[in-house]
Symmetry: C2
């Protein structure tokens, strides 16, 4: 085990004290230009790269921003993560990502683990954390931004949109297109609370107009194109009269679309397929689905900016809710995004 370079090595090489070396490397005021050069050069010469552990422990703050997302199985959360990364770029803060697989216990453990690194702030997906998790976050005494939802009670700030409303609006848009016989295809509804909220909003809107879901299928696993194809086949086999299917997301809807194209079912004439997210893939697809275009990247960027702001104006009122409601695209007419 080769001995790692420390500040003392740099200081020795530059012929100054440890403190001057520290200040020079961090760009502190009150260091002579000569010494800054000497120290920088010495650091480069010996290949010094510091020790964040010691620095953060000593200064009692780290430049880490924890970002907790439920999954990486489709492109949605990577896009949120990209937004966060971009907004943090050049600020001296860096994101650290955790993945919960939609498991509240895992989420709790990941957050504990993140907190033990003393992050400067935390970005967490969703508003429906169990009480114990909320307490953990509230007691952490750092800015917390919850993202991707706004139906609920945020701990500090939140950036997202109402899934209930999104489901509701999609139902209304489809009703306005004179659809009357609705089906639903979903995945992972027991764990993905936001997908469940969309279904709930969709149902509410239907019932308000004296309609209802004629049939609904779902399963426990993660959504995928393959699952969408399979569940759509199942649904339409039992209910060929449907003229509209709402899917819990675009992955499933694309699977449904593939099935319908292969099965010779005319889309959207015979059946309208409606997904959620507005993924890039559906643009230019040979066949159109309706969808709600969500602003994933923007949500990531905005949440990071809120953390940065509340870090600057420390202890300001950091209660803040930013709503970036999705816009509906009916596909046949409008164009998707991203």
């Amino acid at each position: 085990m080769k001995k790692r370079k420390t500040l003392i090595d740099v200081a020795a090489a530059a012929g100054v004290s440890k403190m001057t070396a520290s200040r020079a490397l961090r760009g502190d005021k009150d260091v002579s230009q000569t010494n800054i050069e000497k120290v920088r050069q010495a650091a480069r010469d010996i290949g010094y790269y510091g020790n964040h552990l010691a620095a953060s422990l000593s200064s009692k703050r780290s430049d880490l921003i924890g970002v907790v997302v439920p999954g990486l199985s489709n492109i949605v959360y990577p896009q949120v993560m990209s937004g966060v990364t971009d907004a943090l770029m050049g600020t001296g803060f860096q994101p650290v990502f955790g993945v919960t697989d939609y498991d509240p216990d895992k989420e709790y453990e990941i957050l504990r683990s993140m907190l033990s690194w003393r992050p400067a702030g935390l970005i967490v997906t969703g508003l429906d954390q169990p009480l114990e998790t909320r307490k953990l976050l509230a007691d952490a005494d750092i800015p917390v931004v919850q993202i991707m939802d706004c139906d609920g009670d945020p701990i500090d700030a939140c950036v997202g949109f109402s899934h209930t409303q999104a489901g509701l609006e999609m139902a209304e848009a489809l009703l306005a297109e004179s659809r009357t016989r609705f089906g639903y295809v979903g995945c992972n509804l027991d764990k993905d609370h936001r997908a469940a909220k969309r279904k709930e909003g969709f149902l509410q809107a239907l019932r308000k107009r004296q309609f209802d879901l004629i049939a609904s299928v779902d399963e426990q696993g993660l959504s995928s194109v393959e699952a969408g194809r399979r569940l759509t086949a199942e649904l339409l086999a039992g209910h060929p009269e449907l003229d509209c299917i709402y899917f819990s997301n675009d992955d499933l809807a694309v699977g449904g679309l593939c099935y319908c194209i292969d099965a010779g079912i005319s889309i959207p004439t015979k059946v309208v397929l409606a997904g959620f997210n507005g993924l890039g893939i559906i643009e230019g697809f040979p066949g159109k689905i309706a969808t709600s275009i969500t602003l994933r990247r923007e949500i990531g960027e905005t949440s990071a900016r809120i953390i940065l702001e509340s870090l600057e104006n420390s202890e300001e009122e950091k209660q803040k809710t930013v709503v970036l409601q999705p816009t509906i695209s009916l596909g046949a007419l409008a164009k998707g995004e991203n």
Copy 2:
């Protein structure tokens, strides 16, 4: 600023010394069962979650595994990351992700930053790092696994496949299908060395059989379905005689496919489209592309396992190359994966 709980608080609450508390929480040997219980309970009562900064600084090792990938813009690297995450689960190690945007300077900075957290190991994408970066990694004195490639000289271990070979094999498969008039569509070739290697291998195979690319288009930005559509339109406008197009990845190929379907160009009869990766989306797609099915998740898992192994058998020969060569699917006959 509320005072954070420390080990001393736990020790006080449990009525033991700081040291006993530390040992109990870490599951050290030689702590009485009574004290283990008392300390655990005390920790839970006061909501203690430790300080990794202090622990890692003191013990001179962290449980972090740095994972550096070039981008999050398509699903490929998130899948690699999932593989790493899964393999690390329950081992006490946790991944920390960094994104370079295919920029070598950014990669260098990210690696320096990661090293300053004293990770236990590093997983880095690609074999073509600049010399300075290689030196940084070699001097770090921790296990380094380079992934997604094996055309080159690994620092320690590598897990991936030959992109040259992959391009070559695809060309041969297409030649075997009696294709003769080849075009190429790529993105980001100046930065994505692996895509460039595939093109190179493809060309080599063509030339060995006295063929060549009739036309080639590429552009600098990231690949996307949209870019694939646009570049394919451009390519075919100038060269309607092409009977085969090789794309630098599936995103572009899917874009090309969408264009051809809309333009009424019969796929694969008139033109065969060949991509790379074997994304889930192309399965069940209304139209078939050929592709090389890469094992992203497996590469992530394997690389993490190699890190873990070389951490156990410390200082063993950690030189190791695992090749997970993609398999070719011609689409019309076989089925994609993932």
